[in-house]
Amino acid sequence: MQSVDLNSVKSFRCPSNYFFTSVGKKLVMGISGLVWAGFVMGHMAGNMLMFISPGAYNSYGHALTSGGLIYVVETVLLTALSIHVFFAVWLTVDNRRARGSQGYALSQKGSKGASIASRTMAAQGSLILAFIIFHLITFKFGPVYETTVNGVQMRDLHRLMVEVFQQPGYFAWYVFCLVLLGVHLRHGISSIFQSLGVLNSNNQATFQKVGIVYAIVVSLGFLSQPISVFLSR
């Protein structure tokens, strides 16, 4: 009796090789994406302190950056981002090769078509990466203003934030990128459950909704910040 041929998959046996299969690569994308999905939710929620007072916002920023924890968090985020980008490029190259050079004369539409959000994840990701770099240049490595809150000297990030978001160019770029982040999260969050394998036919619709709600909360939450600053010019 012929059995399943195991010899052909010898190079595949080591558990680490799992992550280099088309299935494993997706899991890596999902987990590294999940790290950032969690981060953007926390970042958005923390920044909401700007609506309490400039002092609360600055004290929050000061508390985050003083102490060693920031280095741990930054390392985790930078690692997750590097992995996410590396595997995204790898998968995109593989997928384009699999599709082949000869495209279809007409593309799918109607009920058999896929959403634009799901088809353009690579382009969205590239723009978001550019946004992250510019965002760090603008704020983390931007001008340092000093302020004193409750007798403690700290960086006046609130002043910088107000100055930035009052400029129409910056404001428009932020609005565009935050909407894009929402679109990326909308497909990304639901796909994570698919890649992790927790999805089944009963909970499929629920996880789709989780993706939509999560994306809307993060995107609208973030958007409220530049919009309120810009409108109060």
Partner: protein, 261 residues
């Protein structure tokens, strides 16, 4: 349904072999009965071509009942045409309008090289099946009814997955030319049943390894595959495949050397 005939303009991909370049050629299909199937419409065009001494359009077909998985091509950019849950052989011309232009193309994917015109080489699917899409352990004679209990949800799930006819529409419609829907359907169909459970960890490993070796892309969960599937195989099969492979990678035992598992 009104019984009348259609006149259509067809733009068909013609390619003599995998080694030559292809191009679109326009044909006119007149006197097409709305009761005929899409393949019968092409048969009609081909009869005209043969009469004129031209090469007929080559396309794959067999049962023409929507169950064998032989037929399939893109109609206006959609796998098996505009209707959901239908193969081209079961797609009737009443779904099209008089005077319409239809662009007909073969499945396109690196792993599905074109043999001729609309016919592609899908032997990559056969090679994936050969890596574990069957049960090789001795399961004995047919057991007494109900002596081998299978939970109803599992039986239903296995049956839904077994409905896959391996036509290749999932690969053709996926922007990554991924074969995940096909492979996941085959893996789940067998893994959910007691006889198939024995080789479960090896099966998913071997089939995924072959799928990758054939040059199919990865899944980006766009859902095009399931939407285009004539058997409406659920996208959740891919989640199950992901789970199966992860468990397999974590728990699979080293197979002893030599033949057999």
């Amino acid at each position: 349904m009104k019984d009348h005939t259609l006149k259509l303009k067809l733009k068909v991909w013609r390619q003599a072999s995998s080694k030559t370049l292809g191009r679109f050629v326009e044909y006119e299909a007149s006197e097409v009965s709305t009761h005929s199937s899409f393949l019968e419409m092409i048969d009609q065009v081909n009869e005209g071509l043969i009469k004129k001494g031209e090469e007929p359009i080559t396309f794959d077909h067999d049962c023409r009942e929507g169950i064998c998985g032989s037929c399939g091509f893109m109609i206006n950019g959609e796998a098996h045409g505009p209707l959901k849950g239908t193969t081209v052989c079961q797609l009737h011309m009443r779904n099209f309008k008089d005077g319409e232009t239809l662009t007909i193309e073969p499945w396109r994917a690196q792993a599905f090289p074109i043999i001729k015109d609309l016919m592609v080489d899908r032997s990559a699917f056969d090679r994936i099946i050969a890596k574990g899409g069957y049960i090789s352990v001795d399961t004995g004679n047919a057991p007494d009814a109900n002596s081998l209990p299978v939970p109803k949800p599992d039986a239903d799930d296995a049956f839904m997955s077994a409905a896959c006819i391996a036509c290749g529409a999932c690969v053709a419609s996926c922007k990554n030319a991924s074969a995940m829907l096909f492979v996941s359907a085959k893996v789940n169909h067998l893994s959910l049943l007691p006889q198939g459970g024995v080789e479960r960890p090896e099966r998913v490993h071997s089939m995924v390894a072959q799928m990758d070796a054939e040059g199919f892309g990865a899944c980006t969960s766009t859902g095009s595959c399931s939407a285009s599937c004539p058997k409406e195989i659920s996208l959740s099969n891919i989640a199950k495949l992901n789970r199966e492979l992860l468990f397999s990678a974590l728990t699979r035992r080293q197979a002893p050397s030599g033949d057999g598992v």
